[in-house]
């Protein structure tokens, strides 16, 4: 860990202002990812701005949906009665991630900001364009078992590790941020970005911007939901593939479907073509199989993650089956 300045602030404006001063600065919330990265000298900030005292912890009803404060912990969100009742998919996704101890500390905004688990990003002695732009991508021809099959570039094939974000993206959440130039909102699906030529940028936040809250729209999927996470052990492992499935089934017909996938791209991956296909169809395995096949168009695997080309459609099918089966 390097030497750094530590500021604790009770006011968003002051926090944002501190962020824009010279030198590399980082907001500190739960610290479950950032502190590890600092210990390994992957992130070496000059200044930490502790935002924990900010009044951003509430989870409250909005006119049509639910607002989740950026500092609400993952556990608080997953166990909140309104989340469990109206957005059970989000509870499932959050509880599929990390461990109980980590979920108690990790925050909503912090979870959105967590960095990739690519082993080369974590090894400061080796090339990595995300950690050290221009140095090269060690994963392209290296140990790429965990890596992307969608939306990657020759500069970076890392994946976003968050389960919560897959749930949020699938539920059409909206992110509210505040920055030096004022407040703005964006779709959750627009928050994270693909690597392109700038893999060092995980998301579309502008310099100095702070996540304030995430809004969930009116509940469309209170019942037929599933989160299937395929991983190397039954808890506390990052996804090889994860699938969030939400179905609105009326009179035996899928009215609408929302599908998201994790462990496959630099961002939570919405399966919009499959969603369009499923709308108006019967919730039967034949349609789930087709939806899964449609979802895989454009997938590209590397030496060690070819299994994802099979595992991903299988997991989509499994998630749809489980979601449809919920009475």
């Amino acid at each position: 860990m390097n030497q750094f300045e530590y500021i604790r602030t009770t006011d968003s404006k002051a926090a944002i202002k501190a962020m824009t001063k010279t030198g590399e600065a980082q907001f500190l919330a739960g610290g479950t990812n950032l502190v590890d990265l600092m210990k390994m000298r992957i992130v070496v900030p000059d200044r930490l701005i502790d935002i924990n005292p900010l009044p951003l912890r509430d989870i409250e009803k909005t006119l049509t949906g639910l607002r989740i404060g950026a500092l609400a912990s993952n556990s608080e969100v997953a166990e909140h009665p309104l989340v469990k009742k109206n957005y059970p998919l989000l509870s499932l996704a959050i509880n599929a991630g990390a461990s109980a101890q980590l979920r108690n500390m990790a925050t909503t905004g912090g979870n959105m900001m967590q960095r990739t688990r690519c082993p080369y990003f974590f090894d400061v002695t080796l090339p990595c364009n995300k950690r050290s732009p221009g140095s090269g991508c060690s994963a392209l021809e290296g140990y790429n078992r965990m890596h992307a099959i969608f939306g990657a570039s020759t500069a970076c094939i890392a994946v976003n590790p968050s389960d919560m974000s897959v749930g949020m993206a699938t539920l059409d959440a909206v992110v509210h941020v505040s920055g030096p130039k004022g407040d703005r909102s964006m779709k959750f699906t627009d928050f994270h970005r693909l690597p392109g030529n700038e893999p060092q940028k995980d998301n579309n936040l502008l310099p100095g911007e702070l996540i304030i809250a995430v809004d969930l729209p009116a509940s469309r999927y209170p019942q037929n939901v599933a989160y299937v996470k395929v991983r190397d052990r039954n808890s506390y492992a990052f996804a090889l593939i994860s699938v969030a499935a939400a179905l609105d089934i009326r009179d035996g017909i899928i009215h609408t479907a929302s599908l998201g996938m994790g462990g496959v791209a630099h961002k939570p991956w919405r399966l919009t073509a499959a969603e369009a296909f499923l709308a108006g169809k019967k919730p039967v395995d034949e349609n789930f199989r087709k939806a899964a096949a449609i979802s895989m168009e454009g997938a590209k695997a590397y030496v060690l993650n070819k299994f994802k080309l099979t595992m991903a459609p299988n997991a989509i099918r499994a998630a749809l089956q489980q979601a449809a089966a919920k009475a």
Binding site: M1, P119, G142, R145, D232, R233, A318
Partner: protein, 717 residues
């Protein structure tokens, strides 16, 4: 408190200390003026150090020394022609780099944080040389280890395999697996003058550590005091004295103050050994009735360029089943990696995985129940050494295990049993591990209040050694366990062997048995009773009556020559029930039932705990653990607890153990054979075989992960 006898369930005598924080581990002695050492790893895989820029580190707050090969004090045992040369890596002795992560410097500072910070400021220049870490592409470099112990073995004519009516020839592999005990490796050392040193260090053998440190620094053994009273797991990783332990002693000498050196979790993946990556070829030839005609077992394991590591991975194929013709061959491939070290069930766990999976494969070809196949080839004597077993009750293990796991539900045809979405399968894996008894000493001391202290310089790395020893003493002396204190983990106590090879209860337990028995006789003598009296002793009245301040007795104990006429092993059969999801490849180990013939069990509760722990280790071996090196760089890519997967609670469901609990009549007076290793051997094949039974997918390369299941299912079509 009631009296206990050998075989009862007794809670850990040190359990309360452990759960209340009263047990102090080697890193928990806050000595005055303690300095902290942090190692700096090399970032290249082979070559020489050209220069080390340590100016910034040396000038960093709190830093007292930066030790490198440029300034390290001479270690006598590292020198050419040393009377007792230290084996293995000679840290800071020269500029050579043999593997990535090899320490190039030790930073010592007033606090751990200062040392850690300064360690990050060290910059080294290297002359890089070519290296090899890729095991599979260097297989042709495999050599037979030095010395005769590992020469090729032949019994009969194994080439008859080719003419056998039914045969199996398959290749199995397992990756390098790390011990990774919860407690990090740590050494605290300080010198008293020039020739006396004391260590608190994580050790499985305080006497062995004492000898190693004395040899390294060329001082009398009695001048080295090793303390290792509590050890938070080791699994073999503390069987030897490691270079970083010598470095801590070296630093303490240089600074003339106590130094504590703790490895980081990441350094635990490179500096304290592992079970080596091994590829094995098994050939089985059988008659149509299942009787084996021939077994061939060839194994190639990873070793290090700077030190040879060997283990008995092929031996199990020579004696576990009755086959007239057997051939085994063992080779190692020296690579630019840290040296392996024995890991729980060393050798046999590796070999049993291959042999027991191959036997399972053969059972399907023969359309024969896997247990029936094993019974067909059951052997009532050791076919390797032509000796009778000292005891063997493996048939009882089969019977109990089959009943407890519900073997009658096992589908004869794979992939034909379902529970909801899940495929269900059953499997078995057998194991054996040599039962040993070494020479050991114990001392007993009676105090005026009627309590006794028993001492022996053994270790307790977690199995509950102190508890087992207390039970043996309580039984013989007729004293409640709370009147007995067993002391261990201190090199000044009576000499005992290192805790390894499942031999502690056999060796040290015998010493405790013998010294307690002799002590009773002595007391009967002193009180004018016949030596073979069985009268209860009134312990608290004894010393006042005899007008003595204390009474003590020491005794050395070892086996007799009768044992040489027998082959002595612990035997096991592990049964497993596994669920596999056919779409995702995710697995759930619903049940493991371990059945064990380990002779007499001294304390059922702690023994069962040990069996459960071993089964969890075997589950990791089978399904989660794999150290991965990127061979372009020679660096581990998953050397941390997030990416190197050990089983977590969600992976561990029902695990139980059954002991035949029949005393071995030969090995030692109590009749114990040892369970530490056998608890893991056989678990991985039981799981692999259950997964095959569930899915029809045979995975021969560990660990068995969801991607491999799906790959196999694709091939099934």
């Amino acid at each position: 408190m009631k009296k206990v006898v050998i075989g009862e369930s007794v809670s850990r005598v040190d359990g309360r200390l452990k759960v209340t924080g009263g047990a102090h581990y080697s890193g928990e002695y806050p000595l005055p003026n303690l300095a902290y050492g942090v190692l700096v790893p090399a970032s290249v895989t082979s070559g020489t150090i050209v220069d080390i820029d340590s100016k910034a580190a040396a000038g960093s707050p709190g830093v007292r020394a930066v030790i490198t090969h440029f300034n390290a004090p001479r270690v006598p045992g590292y020198q050419a022609g040393a009377a007792k040369p230290v084996r293995g890596l000679k840290l800071f002795a020269d500029n050579k780099i043999y593997f990535n992560g090899q320490p190039i410097a030790l930073v010592v500072a007033d606090t751990f944080e200062q040392a850690t910070f300064a360690a990050g400021l060290i910059k080294a220049k290297y002359n890089r040389e070519s290296f090899a870490t890729d095991f599979r592409s260097n297989l042709e470099k495999g050599v037979t280890p030095q010395g005769g112990r590992y020469k090729d073995y032949a019994r009969g004519d194994a080439s008859l395999l080719d003419n056998a009516p039914v045969k199996i020839k398959q290749e199995y592999s397992l990756p390098s697996e790390m011990h990774n005990p919860m407690e990090l490796h740590v050494t605290t050392a300080w010198w008293d003058g020039d020739d006396r040193v004391t260590l608190y260090t994580k050790s499985q053998g305080v006497i062995s550590s004492q000898r190693s440190i004395a040899a390294a620094f060329d001082i009398p053994e009695k001048n080295v005091q090793i303390n290792s009273r509590f050890v938070g797991g080791a699994f073999g990783s503390s069987l030897r004295t490691w270079p970083h332990e010598v470095a801590a002693v070296q630093a303490a000498k240089m600074l003339k103050r106590p130094v504590k050196l703790t490895l980081t979790r990441e350094q635990m993946f490179t500096l304290v050994g592992y079970r080596p990556l091994t590829i094995q070829k098994i050939g089985l030839g059988a008659n149509t009735d299942g009787s084996l005609i021939a077994i061939t077992h060839e194994s190639v394991s990873q070793s290090a360029v700077y030190e040879e590591f060997t283990e008995n991975s092929v031996n199990i194929s020579r004696f576990l089943y009755a086959s007239p013709n057997v051939m085994t061959r063992y080779k190692i491939v020296p690579l630019n990696v840290g040296v392996p070290t024995p890991m729980r069930g060393p050798g046999e766990a590796t070999g049993a995985f291959a042999l027991e999976c191959a036997l399972d494969e053969l059972s399907y070809v023969l359309k024969m129940d896997p247990i029936a196949l094993r019974l067909k080839n059951y052997t009532e004597s050791d076919p390797e050494r032509n000796l009778p077993w000292s005891s063997k009750h493996l048939k009882e293990c089969y019977e109990v295990g089959m009943e407890k796991i519900g073997w009658s539900n096992r589908p004869a045809v794979p992939r034909s049993l379902k529970d909801g979405e899940w495929l269900v399968g059953y499997g078995v894996g057998c194991g054996a591990f040599g039962a040993y008894r070494g020479k050991a000493n114990a001392k007993i001391k009676l105090l005026p209040d009627g309590t006794v202290i028993i001492q022996s310089a053994t270790s307790d790395i977690g199995p509950g050694t102190g508890t087992a020893m207390t039970v043996i003493a309580a039984d013989i002396l007729g004293l409640p366990t709370d009147k007995i204190t067993f002391e261990l983990g201190d090199s000044s106590l009576p000499v005992a062997p290192t805790q390894g090879g499942s031999a502690t209860v056999s060796s040290v337990g015998s010493a405790v048995h013998d010294v307690c028995t002799a002590f009773k006789k002595k007391i009967y003598g002193l009180t004018g009773k016949p030596e073979d009296s069985t009268e209860a002793i009134a312990w608290s009245e004894l010393l006042p009556k005899l007008n003595l301040p204390y009474l003590e007795l020491s005794q050395e104990s070892q086996g007799n020559d009768t044992a040489k006429n027998y082959s002595m092993y612990s035997f096991s059969a592990h049964f497993a029930k596994v669920y596999v999801h056919p779409l995702t490849g995710m697995m759930q180990v619903k049940q493991i039932f371990a059945t064990v013939d380990a002779g007499k069990i001294v304390s059922h509760k702690t023994a069962a705990s040990q069996m459960i722990g071993g089964a969890v280790g075997g589950l990791g071996m089978a399904m989660t653990e794999e150290a991965v090196i990127d061979d372009r760089y020679g660096r581990l890519v998953n050397g941390n607890f997030a990416d190197y997967h050990v089983p977590v609670n969600a992976d561990v469901q029902q695990i139980d153990a059954y002991f035949t609990d029949k005393p071995d009549p030969i090995i030692n007076p109590v009749g114990t054979k040892g369970i530490g290793e056998i608890s893991l051997i056989g678990v991985a094949p039981a799981l692999a075989n259950a997964i095959y039974n569930a899915t029809g997918v045979r995975i021969r390369d560990l660990p068995i992960t969801p991607d491999k299941i799906l790959e196999g299912e694709e091939k099934l079509g």
